[in-house]
């Protein structure tokens, strides 16, 4: 039977949630969506039904959150609870039905990003943990970890600085670059705390997209085959050739190698 982090919602029966819940976490601009775009077809080619979902996309509150962020009018607790509403809506209406139907649910962020953001904004830790205690425990959390120095060029040279990703609402600096560095640094610190607390599998996201994908893929293959986690997976060198990693992991198959060529070309 699946578990939650504490409270159980009346709408959710925890039995028969036979699918797999896999979380890809990481800060803004670290490449999560790129990876999910690669992972989804890879899983589908193996005949698995995949639901990909992400935060602030619920039917109930998704639009409202976007509007609120445009106007910047909500207080910190209010915005935090708005996110929680959105999360609950998605959990009940998307994630749980998909798990019940045996899907692989691939979620771009989960409660951890929401907790980290709230904590950086001075929200009480025990309180925010309680709010999200109704969340289902996932089968695995892959955390794409990056240092702020590696993060900056990625963000700047792709889409530029964003008000919220730079934590401008915290008013730590008038300068967006300075503010971005400060905000993302404290966010990354929070993520490191959460990584310990929730036992994330850490992947070095400063490596190439291909390397990150290979690590994610072998991690997910392991989760789906029900094999136990290897304790040292987290610190696996990211610049080793792919074949070596696969040989060590022993989870690759010739079929997957073919698929890999398709996906990565």
């Amino acid at each position: 039977m699946r578990e939650t982090y504490g409270a159980v919602l009346p709408e959710i029966s925890l039995t028969d949630l036979t699918g797999s819940l896999i979380v890809v976490e990481g800060t803004d601009g670290v490449g999560r969506s790129t990876q999910i775009d690669l992972l989804k077809p890879w899983l589908e080619q193996q005949g698995r039904a995949v639901l990909d979902t992400g935060i602030t996309r619920s039917e109930l509150a998704g639009k409202g959150i976007k509007q609120a962020k445009e106007g910047h009018t909500l207080g910190r607790i209010t915005l935090t609870l708005f996110y929680a509403t959105d999360f609950a809506d998605r959990l009940e209406n998307e994630i749980v039905p998909a798990l019940r139907a045996g899907f692989v649910v691939l979620t771009d962020r989960y409660i951890y990003s929401l907790i980290a953001r709230a904590m950086v904004r001075g929200i009480d830790s025990a309180w925010i943990h309680n709010v999200y205690s109704f969340a289902l425990k996932p089968d695995a959390v892959f955390y794409l970890r990056i240092g702020v120095d590696d993060l900056v060029p990625r963000v700047v040279f792709s889409r530029g600085f964003d008000y919220w990703e730079s934590g401008m609402d915290l008013h730590t600096s008038e300068d967006m670059f300075e503010s971005f560095r400060k905000y993302q640094s404290s966010l990354l610190q929070q993520f490191d705390v959460l990584a310990q607390e929730y036992n994330f599998e850490v992947i070095d996201a400063s490596a190439s997209a291909r390397t990150v994908f290979e690590q994610l893929r072998s991690g997910i293959a392991r989760v789906l085959s029900g094999e136990p986690r290897e304790p040292l997976f987290a610190v696996q060198s990211s610049d080793a050739p792919a074949d070596e990693i696969h040989a060590r992991k022993g989870v690759d198959t010739p079929v997957e190698n073919e698929l890999e060529q398709d996906v990565l070309k």
């Binding site: 919602l9 009346p10 509007q67 207080g75 607790i77 929680a84 009940e92 109704f134």
Partner: protein, 227 residues
């Protein structure tokens, strides 16, 4: 972030709780008039908060999209907005703030809908503790008699239709309110709520309420604004 507890703001916060038809809103308006005539700076903090949260709640209710958890969280969001943008600034400014319904309404409704009692109480930890919370205790039959004449029809969530207690809105309303009363009663000792017998004449209830409020305002002379 402030945890639930005695606030240190100069203002005072009085809230009324009770089921629909308990007469709590009537009593609060009478209290408002009296405080005003006594020269206090007194403000109602209304439920309808930011248009944004309100619109989402309205839409969710209209489309029957709300489950117990989203019902609970969207109302907490709305309450947080009031807390951050209305109640706390008013208390800081030294106002006497009056609220028709407060966190106890959420505790009762959400728990009846199956949410975990402890979780809901923790959820509202950011709320300021009222100077005095009043509960207007009334038997369901009395409240129903008052309501039948005063309204046309019962709304979906208000009558707890989402719980599937009965197909008939009036019957569902009754069953739902009976459960709400049970939850309220559990809170009386837990939160030191002042109980008013809401079957007494209106003037008698008001006199009791004023006496309690007066005792809390004795040391708050500076809250008077009129000459």
């Amino acid at each position: 972030m402030k945890r639930y507890g005695e606030h240190r703001f100069p203002g005072k916060l009085f809230v009324v709780e009770g089921i629909d038809g308990s007469g709590k809103s009537t009593q609060l308006s009478l209290l408002y008039q009296w405080l005003k005539s006594e020269g206090y700076g007194v403000v109602f903090s209304e439920w309808n908060s930011s248009p944004l949260v309100r619109d989402i709640t309205k839409r969710g209710k209209k489309k029957h999209m709300l489950t117990p958890s989203t019902f609970s969280l969207i109302h907490a969001t709305d309450f947080a907005d009031r807390m951050e943008h209305s109640i706390i600034p008013l208390l800081k400014a030294g106002a006497v703030v009056l609220c028709d319904r407060y966190i106890y309404t959420a505790f009762a409704r959400d728990v009846v809908r199956g949410m975990d009692a402890k979780w809901v109480r923790e959820l509202y930890n950011f709320a300021v503790k009222p100077t005095v919370p009043f509960y207007f205790r009334v038997p369901l039959q009395v409240a129903m008699k008052r309501l039948i004449t005063g309204r046309n029809g019962f709304k979906f969530y208000e009558s707890g239709m989402d719980l599937g207690l009965s197909e008939d809105p009036e019957e569902s309303f009754k069953l739902f309110q009976a459960r709400i009363i049970e939850e309220y009663e559990k809170m009386m000792p837990e939160f030191e709520i002042t109980v008013v017998d809401a079957t007494l004449p209106i003037e008698t209830q008001q006199a009791q309420m004023r006496q309690v409020v007066k005792s809390k305002l004795a040391q708050a002379k500076r809250l008077r604004v009129a000459p």
